[in-house]
Every structure is written in C-alpha cells, then in structure tokens.
C-alpha cells in the first residue's frame, strides 16, 4: 500500500505542472512559424496574430507584450477581432475576418491560404460549443493530406496556450472545434501597394 502510494505521488504532484516543449521539428509541409505563448487565457488572439505577422514580415515585427500594451493604450480590446483588424490596418497589415472552410477553395478555403499561398492563418476554435466566452485563437500552419487535391486528414496548429505548442488535430476534431468557433479564420498579409508595414512604437527590429 505504502509503496503504491509513494510510486503514484510524483505523478500526482506533477499533474498540475506544465512542461513547455519547444517546437524542434516541424512536420513536412508545415510552415515554420516562430511560436509565441499566450501570457494568460485572454491573450491567445494577440499571441496568434504576432506569430502570423512575424512570419509574414519575415522578421520579429512585434512582440506579444508590445502588441497588447499598444492595443490597450489605444482603448481597444485585445480579444476582439474588429479591434485587432483596425489596429493592424493602421500599420499596413490587412487582416481579413471571414467564415471559411477546410478546403483549397480560393479564397475562403483554409487550404488555399496555408498550402497554396504559404500563409499561417489564425482560426477561432471552441471546445465548449455554444459558449462564446470560451473562444480560443490558434494558428494553422499545415494541413496533412496525401496529395495536392486530396482532402485534409489532419491539421497542424500552434496553440498559444498548449504545453505541447505544436499539435496535430485530426480532421474531425478540427472541424468540430473550428465549427464551434463559427469557422472564423483571420488571414493577414501586408497591405498591397503600401510598402513595408509600419513598426509598432518601440517594437524590436
């Protein structure tokens, strides 16, 4: 009895700890997007947008802390897509918010953005269907399919709140969580014809 409890103790104690694992190996076909962790539960949109913007810019365009503080200083809610869109628009980054699908259809298909155009895309997911308070932003960086025209088998996501960081969700799970979040996707790109996006105040170069 004593031995059994002692053997279980480390597991019980460790259950509440979260081990952070770096994204060392990206699966084939996945975009190598730098991971940004969310500082708290309400910070996942900020972290996701920073991941996407830094990848699209090809540099450390902005940090999550900086983006959050600038949004707050501007009186905007860092969790609202509309506020995020308008703030980015002022910095020559266009973020589109639309309901999409898991296909390669142009331009509403997630596959078109990720597989065909090479953009990581922020998607709104929800594990508590019907409760918008639990919406959560993740970044889709890859779609696992056997061929160019094949249906997706799984989706690779960078989850700003996950201890694993990079997760592979099978198609059904992703469609369920994404559908519960309204199938909202937020692709962002440099506003065409406007030159280099303006740096946020005090952002790292």
């Amino acid at each position: 009895m004593a031995v059994a409890v002692l053997a279980l103790a480390p597991g019980l104690l460790g259950a509440s700890c979260q081990k952070r694992v770096a994204v060392d190996h990206f699966p084939p076909g996945a975009l190598q997007v730098g991971y940004v962790a969310a500082a708290n539960y309400t910070d996942c949109l900020v972290a996701s947008v920073v991941m996407c913007a830094n990848y699209v810019r090809g540099s450390e365009w902005c940090s999550a802390a900086r983006l959050r503080s600038e949004l707050t200083a501007a009186g905007k809610d860092p969790a609202l897509t509309g506020d995020m869109r308008s703030w980015l628009a002022g910095r020559n980054i266009t973020m589109i918010a639309l309901r999409g699908e898991l296909s390669d259809a142009q331009p509403t298909g997630l596959g078109w953005w990720v597989r065909q155009r090479g953009y990581p895309v922020t998607c709104v997911v929800n594990r508590h269907a019907g409760k918008a308070d639990y919406n959560h932003a993740v970044v889709v960086i890859g779609i696992d399919a056997r061929g160019a025209t094949a249906d997706a088998e799984a989706v690779y996501v960078l989850d700003p709140a996950s201890p694993k960081r990079l997760e592979r969700w099978d198609r059904l799970s992703f469609e369920h969580y994404w559908g519960s979040g309204g199938s909202v996707m937020l692709p962002l790109f440099e506003t065409p014809g406007r030159g280099t996006p303006a740096m946020p105040t005090g952002a790292r170069s």
Binding site: N40, L80, T81, A97, T122, D133, A145
Partner: protein, 108 residues
Amino acid sequence: MRTMAIGLVLVVVLGMVTSQAAAEAPQPAAAKPAEAKVSPPARPLPITVEQADALEEIAESPPHAVPEDTRAAYSPEADRFTTELSVRAVQIGIPGTILGILIAAAPL
C-alpha cells in the same frame, strides 16, 4: 567428428537452398508510393491589390461575414472561472497527496 562434419555440410546445403528459394520466390508487388505531400511556398506569395479588394468584398458578404465584435479569446469571466478551478485543484491536490503519503507510511 564424422557426425559433426555431416551436420555442418547439411547446414551449409540447407542454407544455400533456402536462400535460393527466397530469391526465386515471387516478390510482393511494391507498395504504391504515397503521393508526395504538398509543400507550401517557402515564403508567403504576395496578395495583389485586386485580390485584397476581392477578399474584402467576400468577407463582407452574408455567408462569410463575421461580426466586428467577434471574440477570439477567452472572456475575462471565463478566465477567472478557469483560474479559480485550477487554483482550487492545486490547493486540494498537493495537501491531499501529502496526507495520502503520510497515511500510507504510518505504521499499522
């Protein structure tokens, strides 16, 4: 000695026969190679002005439109509830584990 020599010869002959049979056996058809996975562009392909305008238009049309006030993160209320739950779990879990160890380790 003689028995050993016969045994050795038998082993060699058997080995040769089986290896030849294996070589002549019909090989299973090679598995059809999986279609190569799609590799996205190394860098994001630029979006043109026309594409951006078309995207804005599609994003504003009813089937694809998303309300401006769509929340893409936990609300502060959900955050508070989740934090309280995790704090309670830790508060209960650690003393509970220690108590269990002490009870189990106590002399009967």
